[in-house]
């Protein structure tokens, strides 16, 4: 039997979606199940539901791609996090502010075993700051060997000069054993010491969380009697093989919006467009460039900690299907609160007493939902609330398009009909069929990718550095599961750095390719 089916799944705040695609990317089965408090239960329900629909064809499933919020939730709730010993290399620079020193106390308590700042690291031009303090690392590891679950290593300017992080990693394995889990900052974040270090430490704290997700998912699959390859989606909308995901769990953060963007691209065949995913509590606007989400240059805060790893550049507006309407019919107030998962009990169309945007849509005939008819006395306020929504949306569109009105807008998500089809600032609005499960579809169609980043001076060595960067990015994509025959460079970004003696650029190269056939 051919393994020509694959299942894409996405765990969102409100719903867990699953979709089954065949080798021609046709939708074979789909479902939307409520996300449960223990998110594994929602995953199990959604998976078992589509497997049941497939019946005998279930044996044709070869791959399962999962987008998950487990890592985000673990950080936000300070739950199930691993305990980390953090090593920073670069003294005497940076002694003024230690690792995790500016974290919220409760998160620091949950994660920090011990920290140190030792000799090592580099200047921007590759000169050494100080010799690598190997003895210092050994002493630290012996002293703090109060059973850290993982180690995080961050060296100054490691995105350009990673040698000290690599050497320190070797020493860690010598002393604490080959199996000790280690994160190195040059593999995780870009320039900006504290933000990169924070992302690296969080990555180390998430090893167990992601391990549990993988084990749980494998259990679900095993119980269905299937032998499939399991993959996780990451924040740029591409896939990670399990061993890669185990090393970089932090990359699962932000995968939900990335999946929606990629799913929207697939459903419409567009590669350059604006996408909005309208859920129960918010509308998230993003931009697709060459079929991939445009990434944010700014720092991203997670659980009170600033980080700088790659994330889709999103603009979130507090407008969703469950958004509460208050105020008067002359001056309605839209949100920012939402009834969330209580929509089916609190909204007017379900016989509740809280007016929501879903009620307004039903009244306008743009949405079919509910069990009750809305009282006539509410109509005026609901209708004028929708006009306010249009203003919010127009503003958001202006901000993400930077005034280019020729791009279309693809509206996906459960409450996509909140976006009026005559909205200003875009060429047209497209509501693709199955747009309500765009995120699960995005997971199912995702490619594998790899990236390389460095600071490179213009001059003789420039072309060699670019060639090397491309090779490393392609190799990392293959490690993540891409077909070596089809992997290609999909993005090359050069950002000039000012104030340096020689003209220098920060170079980011990304490669991606479809998964190998099984």
């Amino acid at each position: 039997m051919p393994l020509d089916l694959r299942i894409g799944m996405d765990v969102g705040g409100t719903n867990t979606d699953a979709v089954v695609l065949d080798s021609n990317n046709r939708i074979v089965a789909r479902t939307k199940q409520p996300t449960t408090k223990d998110v594994r239960q929602g995953v199990r329900s959604a998976f078992e539901y589509v497997i049941k629909l497939l019946d005998a064809d279930a044996k044709r499933v070869g791959r399962v791609m999962l987008g998950t919020t487990h890592a985000t939730n673990a950080i936000l709730e300070r739950r199930s996090l691993g305990r980390v010993a953090a090593i920073r290399l670069g003294a005497p620079a940076s002694l003024s502010l230690g690792p995790m020193e500016s974290w919220p106390q409760d998160l620091r308590d949950a994660v920090c075993v011990d920290t140190c700042i030792l000799g090592g690291g580099h200047y921007v031009d590759g000169r050494r700051i100080s010799p690598l303090d190997e003895d210092g690392i050994r002493t630290f590891l012996t002293r703090t060997a109060q059973n850290p679950d993982a180690i995080a290593i961050t060296s100054i300017f490691s995105p350009t000069s990673p040698v000290d992080e690599l050497r320190a990693c070797k020493i860690v394995k010598e002393i604490l054993g080959e199996n000790m889990a280690v994160s190195m900052s040059h593999e995780i974040g870009s320039l900006g010491l504290l933000e990169r270090e924070n992302a690296t430490i969080l990555n180390s704290a998430l090893f167990d969380v992601i391990g549990q997700v993988i084990t749980a998912m494998q259990d679900v699959v095993d119980q269905a009697g299937l032998t499939v390859e399991l993959l996780l989606t990451q924040n740029d909308g591409t896939l990670m093989a399990l061993d890669f995901a185990r090393r970089f769990p932090i990359l699962t953060i932000g995968s939900g919006p990335a999946n929606s963007l990629r799913g929207a691209a697939f459903l419409t065949g567009l590669s350059d467009t604006i996408v909005v995913d309208v859920g129960g509590t918010s509308a998230d606007f993003g931009v697709l460039v060459n079929g991939y989400p445009r990434e944010s240059a700014a720092a991203v805060e997670i659980g009170g900690v600033r980080t700088n790893f790659r994330m889709p550049d999103l603009l979130s507006v507090a407008i969703g299907g469950g958004t509460i309407i208050s105020g008067t019919s002359e001056q309605p107030i839209v949100g920012p609160k939402s009834v969330g998962y209580r929509l089916t009990s609190d909204a007017l169309v379900y016989g509740g007493s809280t007016p929501t945007l879903s009620d307004a849509l039903v009244v306008e005939g743009r949405f079919e939902l509910g069990t009750h008819t809305v009282q006539a006395s509410e109509l005026a306020r609901l209708k004028s609330a929708l006009r306010n929504v249009s203003e919010f949306i127009t503003d958001a569109i202006d901000q993400v398009t930077l005034g280019n009105t020729h791009l279309p807008l693809v509206a996906v998500g459960g409450a996509a009909s909140l976006i009026p089809d005559d909205i200003k600032g875009v060429s047209q609005v497209i509501y693709p069929e199955h747009g309500d499960i765009a995120n699960a579809i995005g997971a199912a169609i995702a490619w594998a990718s790899g990236h390389w980043e460095g600071v490179v001076p213009y001059g003789d060595g420039f072309n060699a550095a670019v060639t090397n960067g491309k090779a490393v990015a392609c190799q990392r994509a293959v490690q993540a599961g891409a077909d070596p025959q089809q992997v290609e460079v999909v993005e090359q970004i050069e950002t000039p750095l000012s104030y340096l003696t020689t003209p220098t650029v920060r170079l980011i190269i990304k490669a991606a390719g479809p998964l190998c056939h099984i």
Partner: protein
């Protein structure tokens, strides 16, 4: 301008100070985000910082005007050692053979207004409630000591390794180029003190109340019901326009960010358009070619909702902003002051008219 004088900066005051410094940066001066964490950490470890007036420190004691120089992008990666100011202090005391009694910010606008509090805390010294600009300016010689005609003194520079350079420049330009050369050798960032003088000599040649003003501005922004309105009262400021950013033109030219930002009015201001000329800082605001405000008066672009300053590099198309302008210190309105930092010093052939007299 009525204003409260603060006598101490605690950990809880640092964000207020930083928000105020960002506004006084008038679009430039460097991001204050990283400085906040370093200063808070120093105060946790070494204690709060006393804020003093120049008259309150020993007249014969040295005051160190301090500022960071170099590339902001590098300072986000290569953080301070923490001991830099102690090295500066020892060198200054050796060269001048007198005790240092206080720290002062050379430039209150941007991160250079915030970081000196870390150095004061680490040295256990008070910080003087004053600076030499009252805002941010792009060049070293655009300070009140130059305008006041104080003689050049040895400049002392230090890097995180503890490398020290002391040199005596013959002009403002050679001060700038000598300092820049050291910063490059130091990997892109360095800490500098210049115009090192006894407190008594500085009286009358500084802009008074800068630190208190910045903290009060930050408080207005954070706690007021209507931050914009509160800032207007506090600074005697005018709102030039409320609207959306409709055009940004930006280029990097010999180390400076140059360009313009155009704001299209919304609500009451619908139909109006104000354009701001930029060279690192916001310099001139015009409407249909008519000047609404110009340097050295301060022009800041604020987030309409929060009142937070929007730096030039952070401004984005369609952001909802309020443009506010307010009078500079009277020191800059003297003939010598305008020669140094008036519109012509930045290459604009227009006559400076104080903001109060423009309508």
């Amino acid at each position: 301008m009525s204003q409260k004088a603060f006598t101490q900066i605690t950990e809880g005051d640092v964000e207020d100070l930083a928000f105020g410094c960002a506004l006084l940066g008038t679009g430039g001066g460097g991001s204050v985000g990283g400085a906040i964490l370093e200063v808070q950490s120093a105060i946790r470890r070494f204690g709060p910082v006393a804020v003093v007036q120049l008259e309150d420190v020993p007249a014969d004691g040295l005051v160190m005007p301090i500022c960071g120089i170099g590339a902001p992008t590098i300072s986000y990666e290569m953080l301070n050692n923490g001991g830099e100011a102690q090295v500066l202090r020892q060198e200054v005391e050796r060269v001048f053979n007198k005790p240092v009694v206080a720290i002062m910010a050379s430039e209150i606008g941007g991160s250079n207004g915030v970081e000196p509090v870390m150095w004061a805390s680490r040295l256990g010294l008070p910080i003087v409630d004053a600076d030499t600009m009252g805002r941010a300016f792009p060049e070293v010689q655009m300070g009140s000591f130059f305008v006041g005609g104080l003689p050049l003194t040895p400049i002392v520079l230090v890097d995180f390794q503890g490398n020290v350079k002391t040199f005596t420049p013959t002009s403002g330009e050679s001060a700038e180029s000598g300092a820049r050369a050291f910063a490059v050798a130091a990997g892109g960032v360095a800490l500098m003190v210049d115009f090192i003088n006894p407190a008594a000599m500085m009286i009358g040649n500084v802009i008074i109340g800068s630190v208190s003003r910045a903290i009060e501005m930050g408080r207005a922004m954070r706690y007021a019901q209507d931050p914009i309105d509160q800032l207007k009262t506090l600074l005697g400021a005018k709102v030039l326009i409320t609207g959306k950013i409709s055009e940004i033109e930006r280029r990097t030219d010999s180390g400076f960010v140059r360009g313009s930002v155009t704001i299209s009015g919304t609500g009451m201001d619908a139909g109006r358009e104000v354009r701001i000329e930029i060279q690192n800082e916001n310099l001139i605001a015009t409407e249909n070619g008519r000047v609404l405000a110009s340097v050295p008066d301060l022009i800041s672009v604020l987030d309409t909702q929060t009142g937070a300053a929007i730096a030039t590099e952070e401004s984005k198309f369609a952001m909802r902003v309020t443009v506010m302008a307010w009078p500079c210190d009277s020191l800059w309105r003297s003939a010598q002051g305008l020669k140094t930092v008036g519109p012509r010093a930045f290459g604009y052939d227009i006559e400076y008219v104080p903001i109060e007299k423009l309508s």
